[in-house]
Amino acid sequence: MDKRIPDWLVVAVFSLAAVAYAGDECVGLSNILKDAPRKVSFFEIVASAVKTDSEGAGCSSLTSVMDKVIHRSRISGRRLENEKPLNITDAEANLAVALRTPAILARLEKLKQEVPDEKVRLYLEAAILDEEGYYNARELRIQQLMEKIK
C-alpha cells in the first residue's frame, strides 16, 4: 500500500494546525521530536503540535513556518523596500553554516532517522532552522517543501 500522504491532506492539516496554533495550543518542537520515533503518520506528528498542556518551546518556529507554508503572508503595513526573492546560493551557504554546528547537525540527523515522511521532515527541519536563527536555510527548506506539495 502506498503510504504517501496526499498533498491535499498536507495542506489541509497545515491549515487546521495553523488555526489551532492561534489559540496557544502548541506543544512545542522538542515534544514533537521526543515523540517522533513512535509516530507513524504525518497527521499524528502535526496533530501532536496542537495539543494543549505543554511548555510550548519552539511553538513560535512551528507557527512561523506553518504560516509561510499556507501563504498567510504579511500584506499589511508599510515596508522600507520591496521584498527581495530568496537567493538560493546564499540560502545554501547559510544551510552549510548551520550544518557545521554540531548541535544543529545532531537535531537534523535525528529527524532524518526518525521521520520517514520527507514533507514532514522538511517542515520540521525548517522549524529547527528557524529556531536556531538560520532564516535563509529555513526559506530553502520551505521552498523545497512547497515544491513537494505542489
Partner: protein
C-alpha cells in the same frame, strides 16, 4: 452619583471651559502668523519649531499649518517633511482647519485693504471660495480617531507570526540593540504625540523593516546581526517611525474613501459614455490607479525625508549622517533600465495596451532607487544649508 464621580464631573466642566478658552487663544494666535510664508521660510520655521517643540501648542491642542491644498485627498503635498508629527486628535485637526480658514480670511481682508489704499476696486471674498478652500484643506488632514487607528494596528499586528521572541536565546541577543536604537531616535522627538511605540524583530535574514498603524514597528534580524548594517538599521527605523507619525496607512485609507465620494458625478458621466467609448472607463481607472500609486510612492519618499530629518537630530556629525543615508541607498537594488513598449498602431491595440498596463503594474509600489537617491540628496542639502 458618588462623590468621586461628582468631583470628576465638576473637574470636567471647568476643564471644558479652560480648553475652549485655550482653543480659541491658540487658533487666533495661529491665524495671526504671517499670512503668506514662502515655502522656504515655512520649512525653516517649522524645523525650528520641531527642534524646540511646536510653537503653536498648548498641553491640549496642536495645530498643523496647512500650506497647500489639492482637489485630491490622495496626494502628498509636503514630501520634504516639514512636520515630523501629524495632528492626531480631532481637536487638533479642527483647530488646524479653523486656523487655515481664519488665515484665508485675513489674507483676503489684507488684499481688500491694499486694493482700497491703492485705489483699486475692492473685491469681497466669496463665501463659496472660502468653503471650497477649507474643504480642500480638510482633505489633507487625518480625521480617523486615534482609538480607531490603534485598533486597526492591533488587528494587523495579530496576523504577524514571524516575530522573534524577546526571551529566547536570539531575542536576548538582538532586542537590547534594537531597543537602544529606538530609544535614541525617540528621545530626539520633542513634538507632542500619543504613540506608544512597540518594537519587534522579524525572523528574517533580509534587511527590511515594517510599520503598522498605532506605533507597531518591525525590524528584520538581518539588520541587526552584523555591525555592517547598523547604519541602515538606524535609517530603517527612522523611516518606519515616520510612517507612523505621518499616519500614512490611515491617511491613505481615508483619502481613498474621500476621493471616491468626490468623484461620484464624474463616475456617473463616465458610466454613461462607457457603451460607446470603452476606452474612457479604462482611462478613468488608470488615472485613479496612477493617483493612488503616486500617492503611495510619495508617502515613501516623505518617510525617507522624515527619516533624514529625524536622524539629523541624533547624528550631529553631517558626514556621518551622509554615510548613514548612503548605507541605505547602497543596499537598494541597482536601477532597472526602462522596458521598451511596442508602439500601438490602432485604437484596438491602444485599448489592449491600456488594459495590460492596468492589470500588470502594481498598485502599491516603492519609489525606485533613483527616485529615493534624488529625494534624499535634496533633503540632505536642505539640512546642510539650514545648518541644522
Amino acid at each position: 452619583m458618588s462623590q468621586a464621580s461628582l468631583v470628576k464631573a465638576k473637574g470636567s466642566f471647568t476643564s471644558v471651559k479652560t480648553r475652549i478658552t485655550a482653543f480659541i487663544a491658540v487658533v487666533l494666535s495661529a491665524a495671526g502668523t504671517s499670512a503668506d510664508p514662502s515655502p522656504q521660510t515655512a520649512t525653516a520655521n517649522n524645523e525650528q519649531q520641531s527642534q524646540n517643540g511646536p510653537a503653536q501648542m498648548t498641553p491640549d491642542i496642536q495645530i498643523k499649518e496647512i500650506r497647500e491644498v489639492s482637489p485630491n485627498a490622495l496626494v502628498v503635498l509636503e514630501k520634504n517633511c516639514p512636520d515630523l508629527v501629524q495632528p492626531y486628535k480631532l481637536s487638533d485637526n479642527f483647530a488646524s482647519l479653523v486656523a487655515f480658514s481664519a488665515k484665508a480670511v485675513a489674507k483676503d481682508l489684507g488684499v481688500a485693504v491694499l486694493n482700497i489704499v491703492q485705489g483699486r476696486p475692492a473685491r469681497e471674498p466669496k463665501k463659496a471660495e472660502l468653503a471650497d478652500s477649507a474643504r480642500l484643506a480638510a482633505k489633507q488632514l487625518n480625521w480617523l480617531p486615534m482609538s480607531a487607528e490603534l485598533l486597526y494596528g492591533e488587528e494587523s499586528h495579530k496576523a504577524e507570526t514571524n516575530i522573534l521572541e524577546r526571551d529566547n536565546k536570539l531575542g536576548k541577543k538582538y532586542y537590547p540593540l534594537a531597543d537602544q536604537l529606538l530609544t535614541q531616535l525617540l528621545s530626539s522627538i520633542k513634538d507632542k504625540h500619543e504613540y506608544e511605540f512597540k518594537l519587534f524583530i522579524l525572523k528574517n535574514a533580509t534587511r527590511n523593516a515594517v510599520a503598522r498603524p498605532g506605533g507597531y514597528l518591525y525590524l528584520d534580524q538581518g539588520l541587526l546581526d552584523s555591525p555592517e548594517f547598523l547604519a541602515k538599521a538606524n535609517f530603517a527605523l527612522s523611516h518606519e517611525i515616520a510612517h507612523v507619525l505621518q499616519r500614512h496607512e490611515t491617511k491613505e485609507l481615508q483619502s481613498m474613501i474621500v476621493d471616491s465620494i468626490n468623484s461620484k458625478d464624474e463616475l456617473l458621466k463616465v458610466m454613461t459614455k462607457v457603451k460607446t467609448e470603452p476606452k474612457v472607463i479604462l482611462a478613468h481607472v488608470k488615472t485613479g490607479k496612477d493617483t493612488f500609486t503616486q500617492h503611495h510612492v510619495d508617502q515613501e519618499l516623505q518617510s525617507d525625508s522624515c527619516a533624514a530629518r529625524l536622524l539629523s537630530r541624533v547624528i550631529l556629525d553631517r558626514r556621518e549622517l551622509g554615510n548613514t543615508l548612503n548605507a541605505f541607498l547602497q543596499d537598494l537594488p541597482a536601477p532597472e533600465p526602462p522596458k521598451p513598449r511596442p508602439a500601438a498602431n490602432s485604437d484596438a491595440e491602444k485599448l489592449a495596451g491600456l488594459g495590460h498596463e492596468i492589470v500588470n503594474t502594481p498598485l502599491k509600489r516603492h519609489p525606485n532607487s533613483a527616485e529615493r537617491r534624488d529625494n534624499l540628496r535634496k533633503i540632505y542639502q536642505e539640512i546642510l544649508s539650514a545648518g541644522q
